[in-house]
């Protein structure tokens, strides 16, 4: 069983609001000093999903695939430390800043180049741009089935079963391989890497490909090939109109609040 896990390195979503800054001219997030980039959390869960499948089957090769600059290597290392076997890094400026389509194109070509892939796992959305479209774009471009936003993925006999998280229910869908499945946090916590594994991961070779290696020209990929254009990026201004409830201690505050809410006809 050959599994590819797509991972992305993103700015830290837990950057405190007071430290989160945007460069509006460059339309980029300014990295916060105390918050280095992290692997997108759902992507790490995708690696966990892959490991669970391999554990259950007793066999399988897991390849981490990431498109990004040098810093993406950290995200790749996380995947390797958790137990993935190999890694491919698409490190070419022409590929960066794409949208779901152009990024999905590069990734799908990479997956074709890796070859013989049965299952592609991604996070449900990258925790930077929050699109949730790239995984499905890969499926569309490869012409394979997809199941999105799942909490459980299993494999048996050339088929993949995944349990989708819907508004009020869970739906288990089965599709043949090859296919793309995106996972959500309901799948569970990624396993903590064992130290021998971390040490091994540090010694693993990462294959690096450029757009040319994928047989793609620069105008097909990255920002040039994107179909959506980012016009503006800004932090929405929120005027705080909060009324703090005063009082000598919680009992008094509670009484005041209850009163005000009753006045406002809210309770």
């Amino acid at each position: 069983m050959n599994i590819v896990c797509c991972v992305k390195q993103v700015p830290d979503p837990e950057t405190p609001a007071r430290a989160f800054k945007v460069d509006e001219a460059a339309k980029q997030v300014v990295p916060a000093p105390g918050n280095p980039p992290v692997i997108s959390q759902f992507d790490q869960i995708a690696v966990e999903a892959a490991l669970r499948i391999r554990d259950a089957l007793g066999e399988g090769t897991i390849t981490i695939l990431s498109l990004g600059p040098d810093s993406a290597r950290d995200a790749i290392k996380v995947g390797l430390a958790m137990g993935a076997d190999e890694a491919v890094h698409l490190n070419d400026p022409a590929l960066f800043d794409g949208d779901g389509y152009s990024t999905g194109l590069a990734l799908s070509k990479a997956i074709e180049k890796i070859g013989n892939v049965d299952l592609i796992l991604t996070g449900r959305q990258a925790t930077d741009w929050d699109f949730g479209a790239t995984g499905l774009a890969i499926a569309e471009l490869l012409g394979v089935p997809s199941i999105s936003i799942t909490k459980r993925v299993t494999a048996s006999g050339g088929k993949i079963q995944a349990e989708r998280v819907l508004a009020d229910s869970f739906e288990t869908v089965e599709v043949p391989t090859p296919c793309v499945v995106s996972v959500s946090n309901e799948l569970g916590e990624p396993r903590y890497p064992k130290l021998p594994q971390i040490m091994q991961a540090a010694r693993k070779q990462v294959t690096v490909w450029s757009a040319a290696d994928l047989g793609l020209s620069p105008d097909e990929v990255g920002k040039a090939g994107a179909r959506l254009n980012l016009e503006a990026l800004y932090i929405p201004q929120v005027e705080s109109k909060v009324e703090f409830i005063q009082g000598d201690g919680p009992a008094e505050q509670a009484a005041t609040l209850a009163h005000k809410l009753r006045e406002a006809k809210l309770i």
Partner: protein
Amino acid sequence: MANESGILVLVTGADGQLNSLSTEVLGAARRIAEGLGGNVTAVAIGIGASDYGKQAIAYGADDAIAVEDPSLDEYRNETWTAAMTAVAKEVNPAVVLIGQTATGRDLAPRFAIRIGTAAAMDCVDFEVSNGTLLMTRPCFGGAAMAKYTSKTLPAVATVRPKAQEPLAQDTSRTGEVRTMTVDAVGVVSQIVNREQVQSEGMRLEDAKVIVSGGRGLGSAEAFAELETLAKTLGGAVGASRAAVDLGWIPLTSQIGLTGKVVTPDLYIAVAISGASQHLAGITGARNVVAINKDAEADIFKHSRFGVVADWKTFIPAFTEEVRKLG
């Protein structure tokens, strides 16, 4: 394609009733149409498509297309994407809007690529500038906003629930509802199992009052206090992702960017710091009351009333006061 014009809106419903998200999307479509010109065409797929199409007219659609076929009764990515693609080719819109439900999230990206464009997901606002559609959507967990244009047409966007205002229902409006058949496609996915989630009490999406707890509660047992308050207020209990991840409350209670979007009249956030991912779930809440030990907590910037206190002492006292009010 060329000469794209008009707005195509995918509408859905349940039990013969058009759902509220569809009305919101239709409202957005109408407003876009004022800027871009062209018709607003609603498309409904599967069971009840004609009913939904008809109801869509009353909410702002100029006409509607119903694609009815047994193979489309259950949502499946391959069949619905094919249907949408066929309809889009037929209608040749400049804009396609889809409500951001589980179906919408699954359908829009593949559909968009299939028709040669890319989807802008989770949009909260639209504007037309110089004949181009600008789509505004939150990103970085809701900490920032991004505006996009689509280089390729149609522009495809999913619309976040409760972000757009629907039009008032106008049953005097008329418009054609025509059926369309689409070619059958091979079905590769099997729905093997469905499990209704046992959620006690009312749905969070319907609740008028929600009492919600976050990481600061410290334990699963703390939610019992919130349950009591919610019961006294006649509301439901929700939670931030932190509390759910810590296993203190089931994930069906999760409110936020990757949880539920709620629009209660009163949202009481207890020991929730106000991370943008959580705020993303309550932008539609009419009145937010926040209780937090930290006077600088971000939640207060988005609240109407704020109480700087330790929830442990405040909530029981508050529950008591509410009870006294009767």
